[in-house]
Symmetry: C2
Subunit: 349 residues, 2 copies
C-alpha cells in the first residue's frame, strides 16, 4: 500500500468550508483504495498575513514542494479591508505558487449540467475546456512606473512569452483535444494587435498541429471569442490561450454555464517537477463566509481533477458522476455546504 | 451658411454598402439645416492595398486632417486571403488613424432595443456606454521578438500607460457619467495582477472623482466584469477602461444587446486637435459583401454620434429616434441594406 501526500490550503472566507466538503468526498471515494491519502494543512492567505505578516515564506514553499499535490480553497480579504495592500495575497501567495511550482497548464473545464440554469436563453450543449497558460504572459510581473504620482507618470506592463512556455502548453492542449470525441482546438489571441506574442502563438500552434493529424484547429481573436461564447458556446471543444485572455474567458465560461459554484480548475505542472494545485475558480466570498451557504461543488470537482492527475482515473470518474447525479436532483431548495458535501460523499461511497 | 467637411472611408466588404445608407440618412436629417455637409471619399483598406500597395500614405493622412470628421465603414481582407499580411491593414491604417489623430476616447454605447432579441434569457434594461482608451495601453505597438523562429524565442508586448493618457479619458468618462441620469462610473481593470498600470488607473479615478461629487463610482476586475455583463448587464452605466479590456468588453456588450448590427462607435479626439472618426463596431464581413444583406443601423447610429460630436444635437437625436422607431417595427422579414437605410432616412426627413 502506498501513501499520497496532500497539502491542503483552506485559505480565507468560504475556503475552509468548501475544502472540508472536498476532503470529505476525497476520503469517501478513496476509502476502498489500497492507497492512503495523508493530508497536511497549511495556513496561508489574508487572515494568516494579518496574523503573521507572512504571505508565502520560503520554508513553507519548500515544504509544499514535498507533497504530491495541493488542494487549495480560496484566498482574499474582504473588499474594503484596507489593512491588506490590494492584490498582495493574490500575487505573493497564489501567483507565487503557480509560478514557483511551474503550473504551466491552468486547466478549466466548462460544462453546462442538465438542470443548471444558464443566463443564456439557448446555450446549447456546452462542454469545453480552456487550457490557459499559467506561468508567463502579462502575469509575469514585469513592468514598472516612472515619475510615479506625478502628472508625467508612465506605467508599463510587459507581457513575456517564450517558445518554451507557449509550446509546452499548446502541446498539452492538443493532447487533450486528441483525447476528446470532437478533437477540435481553438487558439484565442489578438494577433492583429499583439503581433509579437501573437506570431509566436500562431507559429507554435501550426508547428504542434503537425503532431496531431486528427485534431482540427482554428483561430479566434479574443473579442470575437466573446461573441461566440454567448451566441454559440457549444461550438468550442478545447480553447488554448494566454494567461490573461484565459483569466477573462474562463470567468465568462463559468458565468454562461450557471455560475462559478461549479467551476473547478487545476494548476498543473505536466512535467511533474513540482506538485500541481487544484482549486475552485471562485474566490473567498467573505460576505457569505462561515454561514454554510457556499456551494462546495467546484471544490469537489477540483478533487476529481486532482485524482485524475494523480492517476486515480476511476475515483475521478466516480466523483464526476456523483456530481452529475447530485446536480440533476437539485430542486432549488437550499442546502447547507455540508449537506451538499454529505450527499456527494454518499454517492461516491 | 456654413460647410462641414466630411471625409468618408467606405473601406472593404460591406463597408461601402452600409456607408451608402449612413450617408443617405445624413443627407436626409441635415437637409433642412443651414449647414452643408461636403463629402470627400477616400479609398483605403485591404482592396486598396492590393491595388496600390498603400496602407495610409502620409499625404492621405494630411488630407484627412483637414476635415471636420471622418465617417468610416470597415476594413479587412477576406479570411484566408493570404495575399495580405495578417493584421497589416488593421495596424497600418485603422490603428494608425486612431493614434495619429489622437482619438483618445473610443466611445461605444450599448443599449438593448425593445424588440431586439438578446442571447440572454433575462437581460433587463441594458443601457450603458463604454469609454475605452484609444491611444495607448497594449495597443501602443511596443514590444519585440528575440531569437525569433528558434526554440529560444522570446516575444514581448509592452503596455504603455501615461498619466496624461489615462487622466484625459477618465475625465471624459466622468463628464459623460455626470450627464446621465444614473451618474455611475465603473472602472474595469485587473489591478491585482497588472499592478503598475492598475495603480495609475485607480489613482486617477480617485483624483478625478473629486471633481464630480454627484457621480458614484466603483471598480471591477475584468474577469468579474465578464460575469456581470452576462448575469446583470443592467447594473452598468458608464464603464471606463483601457484599450485592450475595452476591445474585449465592447464585443461582449454588443453580443448581449443583440449583435454587432447595432453597435456604433466614435473614435473621438475631445481636444479637437484633429478630426474624430465614427465607425460601426462590426468588421467588413466579406462573406456577405455586395449582397445587400448587411444591417446599416450601426453605421447610421455612428452618424448620430458624429452629429452630436459636431454640435448638431437635434439632428443626432432625430437619427436615434428614427432608429428606435425602425427597430421597434422590425418583424423578422428580411430587408435589404438599402431598404433599412431608406426607412430610417424617411423617418428623419
Ligand atoms: C486572483 C487572481 C490573481 C486570479 C487570476 O487572475 O489568475 C483569479 O482571477 C483566477 O482566475 O484564478
Ligand atoms: C480591428 C481591430 C484592430 C480593432 C481593435 O482591436 O480595436 C477592432 O477589434 C475594434 O474593436 O475596433
Amino acid at each position: 500500500s502506498s501513501t499520497v501526500q496532500l497539502a491542503v490550503i483552506p485559505g480565507d472566507g468560504i475556503g475552509p468550508e468548501v475544502i472540508a466538503e472536498a476532503v470529505k468526498v476525497l476520503h469517501s471515494v478513496t476509502s476502498d483504495l489500497d492507497t492512503t491519502f495523508a493530508l497536511t494543512e497549511y495556513q496561508l492567505g489574508a487572515e494568516h498575513w494579518l496574523a503573521s505578516g507572512e504571505t508565502l515564506p520560503d520554508e513553507t514553499l519548500a515544504k509544499l514542494r514535498d507533497h504530491d499535490a495541493i488542494l487549495f480553497g480560496a484566498v482574499g480579504a474582504a473588499p474594503g479591508d484596507t489593512r491588506i495592500p490590494s492584490g498582495l495575497i493574490e500575487r505573493e501567495m497564489l501567483l507565487k505558487l503557480r509560478f514557483s511550482l511551474d503550473h504551466f497548464v491552468n486547466l478549466r473545464p466548462s460544462r453546462l449540467y442538465p438542470g443548471i440554469a444558464s443566463p443564456l436563453a439557448s446555450p446549447g450543449d456546452v462542454d469545453f475546456i480552456v487550457v490557459r497558460e499559467g506561468t508567463e504572459g502579462p502575469y509575469a510581473g514585469n513592468g514598472g512606473t516612472l515619475r510615479g504620482g506625478t502628472p508625467h507618470e508612465i506605467a508599463t506592463e510587459v507581457s513575456l512569452n517564450t517558445a518554451h512556455g507557449v509550446e509546452r502548453v499548446v502541446r498539452d492542449a492538443f493532447r487533450r483535444a486528441n483525447d476528446r470525441p470532437r478533437r477540435h482546438l481553438t487558439l484565442v489571441h489578438k494577433h492583429n494587435v499583439l503581433v509579437y506574442s501573437g506570431h509566436l502563438w500562431r507559429r507554435t500552434v501550426e508547428a504542434v498541429a503537425a503532431e496531431f493529424p486528427e485534431v482540427t484547429h482554428d483561430y479566434l481573436h479574443v473579442d470575437a471569442a466573446m461573441i461566440f461564447l454567448v451566441t454559440d458556446p457549444a461550438r468550442f471543444d478545447v480553447i488554448v490561450t494566454d494567461n490573461l485572455f484565459g483569466d477573462i474567458i474562463t470567468d465568462l465560461a463559468a458565468a454562461i454555464t450557471g455560475g462559478i459554484g461549479l467551476a473547478a480548475s487545476g494548476n498543473i505542472n505536466m512535467d511533474r517537477t513540482a506538485p500541481s494545485m487544484f482549486e475552485p475558480v471562485h474566490g473567498s466570498a467573505p460576505d457569505i463566509a462561515g454561514q454554510q451557504k457556499a456551494d462546495p461543488t467546484a471544490a469537489i470537482l477540483s478533487v476529481a481533477l486532482m485524482l485524475r492527475h494523480l492517476g486515480f482515473d476511476d475515483a475521478a470518474a466516480r466523483v464526476e458522476r456523483a456530481v452529475d447525479d447530485d446536480v440533476a436532483g437539485r430542486t432549488g431548495t437550499p442546502r447547507t455546504t455540508a449537506q451538499i458535501g454529505d450527499a456527494i460523499a454518499a454517492l461516491v461511497s
